[in-house]
């Protein structure tokens, strides 16, 4: 029988709001962002297929595809098209890098706390730097 005096008072069941109180380590941040980026891609699939459709169907639709980024399409301004693309680019890059990290861990079994931390930081940095670089290109900064 455990001594009743050493038993601490339990805080009760954890609620979702309690999760916001934690400072997430990089690996946990990569993990939740992996889920969020996956959901974003799934929700933006019609946008991706629309781009695929417009860019491939004909020369005329290809010009519409180009125009969507230059002058907008219908009631949607070009800025919104570019912003949606930027969100998609980040989601793809993060999901891709986090996925490669998973495959790396599966293949090498290199799963110490330190390696997990450094690969998580690399995932965050690589996806953000590439997003900024491609975003600058997308918005015509260079």
């Amino acid at each position: 029988m455990p001594d009743a005096k050493v038993l601490k008072e339990r805080p009760g069941p954890m609620r979702l709001v309690d999760a916001t109180q934690y400072k997430l380590p990089p690996a946990a941040l990569v993990s939740i962002l992996h889920r969020i980026s996956g959901l974003i891609i799934a929700l933006l699939l019609p946008f991706v297929i629309w781009l695929f459709d417009k860019s491939l169907t004909s020369e005329i639709s290809f010009d519409e595809f180009r125009g969507a980024f230059l002058a907008g399409i219908g009631f949607v301004p070009a800025f919104v098209v570019k912003l949606a693309t930027l969100v998609l680019v980040w989601a793809f890059l993060h999901h891709f890098c986090a996925g490669v990290r998973h495959l790396y861990m599966d293949i090498t079994h290199n799963t110490t706390k330190e390696v997990g931390r450094s690969t998580a930081l690399a995932t965050l940095v690589v996806s953000l730097v590439l997003t900024v670089a491609l975003g600058a290109k997308l918005f015509g900064l260079y």
Partner: protein, 121 residues
């Protein structure tokens, strides 16, 4: 006498979709990564990427087969991932079932549209 529970006598329990989904998630990911590299190389090759070059890339029979496989891979990968998320966060069984059905309808519809585009080329 103790029951033998190892080797060929091991009592196997469970539905076994855990390891299958785990493997599916990795195989489909590798396929999508390969597709990404092919498109990336095609886009980064020197010269202006106009409609004809873009359409010619997807006109190759091997590229159509690869793209077809990737469309299937995306839908399967997304289904495994979203199902995991729903099982983790949506506990009421009715709400979970509705969301799972909506997910399937969403993904199958997207795949249908993407395949129509692919066959038109």
């Amino acid at each position: 006498m103790a029951q033998v529970n190892y080797g060929t006598k091991r009592v196997v329990v469970g539905a076994h979709y855990g390891v299958r989904d785990w493997l599916v998630q990795r195989v489909t990911a590798a396929l999508m990564a390969a597709f990404t590299l092919v498109v990336l190389v095609a886009v980064l090759l020197p010269g202006e990427m106009d409609y004809y070059r873009w359409a010619r890339l997807f006109g190759h029979e091997w590229m159509k087969m690869l793209t077809f496989s990737v469309i299937v891979a995306i839908v399967w990968h997304a289904w495994v991932g979203i199902r995991d998320v729903l099982m983790d966060y949506v506990k009421p069984i009715g709400a979970r079932l509705v969301l799972q059905v909506l997910t399937i309808v969403w993904l199958v519809s997207c795949a249908g549209w993407a395949l129509q585009v692919l066959w038109r080329i």
